[in-house]
Amino acid sequence: MNRHNLLKVMGLLMIFTMVLAACGTPTAAPTQAPEQTEAPAATEAATEAAVTEAPAEPFTFGILLVGAHNDQGWSQAHYDAGQYVEQNIPGSKMLYLENVYSGSPSYPGQTASQLAEQLVSQGAKMIIFNSDDMKDEALKFAQAHPDIYVLGPSMDWTWKDGKNYQESPNQIDIMGRMEYGKMMAGCAAALTTKTGQIGYLGPLINDETRRLASSAYLGAKYCWTNILGKNAADLKFKVTWIGFWFNIPGVTSDPSQVADDFFNSGYDVVLSGIDTTEALVEAKKMHDAGKDTFAVAYDSPGNCDVAPDVCLGVPYFNWGPSYVATIKSAMDGTWKEGFQWNAPDWADINNKDTSAVGFAKGQGLSADASANLDKFIAELAGGLNLWTGPISLQDGTVYIADGAVATDQEIWYLPQLLEGMEGQSVSQ
């Protein structure tokens, strides 16, 4: 074979690998898969049955997941909620597509609204766009399909008092008040850290992520000063953003690397703000190597299972109840578009039938810290509002005046991180 041909063959091989690589899904491989989904065969059979002999009045809904359905984080929380719906509403059926995000190599050149069409062609009457990355697409789809219900977790299109209100009668936007969960996460971190340095593994930068990182900081600061009685100035709280909800090799920063950098520079607790489990995995690696490192997970209640020993706990979303309510309202005609920002059920934040947000403690949390955390949770339940002034933004401007209580808009549309936090408020 002469040189020219050799190059050709090399080129060909390269293209194949590229194409295949592009087709592969770039999600973080789950470390071990505590697969708690039902046997896929069952779902499949159900699907087929639906295709061939439709039972009376079924309600099919489709979810576009930004990550993998088993990412043990954000997307799995939605997937689990979908299964919760299937259990609680007879005749309901979930369809889903995963790894749906801008430029996803899984769907070259196809937008979320086009993928929603594919779900509709399988009979979906409601589409859940589960990420802010699909925000524009969700609205576009909703407006083009008045006959299909649209659910926009973490979006604010239908919030009349919000900044971005749009008329979209077939759309409901939903969010859990994760501020509380994040406060608990921050508190657990503050109660555990020995170095007084807490790292926050942030996803991309926007209103939501600033809000959640800041809430974690507020919780950490409160427990650091009020429970441990330490000086606020001694608490370091740093946010490092990776650029998206999960690792996209070559595009985002590598979250494992970011977590490592935290642990290697004196931060002994890392709070995860991303959809996947890198913070826990890296904390465990460090822990196994003899370091006293911990992480707080995010999004999905089972998340701590990845590395129980180093997990202080996980603030999680419980989308099931709100999904059930929404779908029922669509089925019985009581649908009311609008924005829902659902608080935890303070009677039992971990009640999976009532609470939109919960916190599951991890084995890494000491008994002492656990007791203190319970105390903090009780205070929150009792009406403690950490979004009360004085609160200043990172650049020093007063955001919430002394004694004033932040409005929902002020919390939702937080323009910067808070004073006392390190890290970028907007990307540079």
């Binding site: 390269m14 801008s102 899984s106 069409e117 062609s121 991309l204 926007n206 209103d207 650029g243």
Partner: protein, 344 residues
């Protein structure tokens, strides 16, 4: 002559059948009843007007990258850098639109300038690969690959840096353009302009390669550089032209993506269209006339196979597997034919 054509078609058809057979086995192994699975792919691609629109939307850029690489293939060049050239087209188009969107210029003019500037961007990027090849002796495969990486890095820098959405730092993309600057679309996002330009490009490239002195010289350079030089053809200039033309077409594809599909710049804007274009070009044995149906087939596979994930929970890479298999088997078939029946 005639006989050869039929033998050729026979081999292509054989490869197709074999590829289908293997994919059928894969489907069966993955637990999807093959016939129904093919049915659902068809349904996903052509089952509704919306699905057809989705196919056409992916078809347009694929046409452009395919005819682009046909030009470079004609000149004997493996322009793997077509991905990067498409990306640069997207970047340049975004640049022009961002620069002009707050001026009083008529939106139509801005849109056209964006498209032209995108073509310039793609051509410039391609000329880099060409210059590396011609003056630096860097093989275009490696030069193109390197430039692909650089273009990705540049996009990421722009998306997170100077062109970010205010208050946001996400790879979701830059601030969308004013709606006035979106290429007008039909239904759920099909831009007749984008599609029209793409089909026009196919026709022009077909004519260029088939009927012009330029095309014939390009072919001669691609097949025998030394002889072409002795025949009086300025060989390196023609290689460079090929790069420039391919880059401009890829740039057009990138510009169409930002102006009609995404309305913003985002990472991975080229979405593998460049590599897919190379595959299509190989599959059709560099015959421009087949671009239209085969690219449509690939686009339909990409769109339709989404159904496999919905219905059978199969990985969405199925379309890619089938496409790769097809190309591999067709190339294999050509090799077998040449070995046993002599060159066509």
């Amino acid at each position: 002559m005639k006989k050869n054509v039929w033998v050729n078609i026979g081999f292509q058809a054989g490869a197709l059948v074999l590829a289908l057979l293997i994919t059928t086995l894969i489907l069966a192994a993955a637990g999807a009843p093959p016939l129904k699975a093919y049915g659902s792919i068809l349904n996903g691609a052509f089952g509704s007007s919306n699905n057809i629109v989705a196919v056409l939307i992916t078809w347009a850029p694929l046409l452009l990258t395919t005819v682009g690489v046909l030009i470079t293939f004609s000149a004997g060049l493996w322009n793997i850098g077509v991905e990067g050239q498409m990306t640069l087209g997207a970047i340049f188009a975004t640049w022009m639109l961002r620069m002009l969107q707050d001026t009083n210029l008529p939106p139509a003019l801005i849109i056209i300038l964006g498209i032209l500037w995108g073509m310039v961007g793609g051509a410039l990027w391609a000329s880099l690969a060409g210059a590396l090849k011609t003056f630096g002796g860097v093989n275009e495969i490696f030069g193109g690959l390197g430039l692909n990486f650089v273009s990705t890095a540049l996009t990421i820098y722009l998306v997170f840096g100077p062109w970010k959405r205010p208050g946001v730092g996400s790879m979701s993309g830059t601030q969308p353009f004013n709606e006035a600057l979106w290429l007008p679309t039909l239904g759920t996002g099909l831009s007749p302009w984008g599609l029209g330009l793409s089909i026009l490009a196919v026709i022009l490239v077909y004519l260029l390669l088939r009927g012009t002195y330029f095309g014939l010289r390009l072919k001669a350079v691609g097949k025998n550089m030394k002889a072409s030089y002795l025949l009086g053809i300025p060989t390196w200039q023609y290689s460079m032209f090929a790069f420039l033309l391919c880059g401009a077409l890829a740039g057009l594809a990138g510009a169409i993506q930002v102006e009609s599909v995404y309305h913003r710049l985002l990472p991975n804007i080229s979405n593998g269209y460049g590599f897919l274009g190379l595959l299509v070009a190989m599959l059709i044995n560099y015959q421009a006339i087949w671009v239209i149906p085969i690219a449509l087939f690939f686009a339909a596979l990409n769109v339709g196979s989404v159904q496999l994930q919905i219905v059978y929970k199969m990985d969405s890479s199925f379309a890619g597997v089938l496409q790769d298999l097809l190309v591999l088997l067709v190339l294999l078939g050509q090799g077998v034919r040449e070995r046993f029946l002599g060159k066509a």
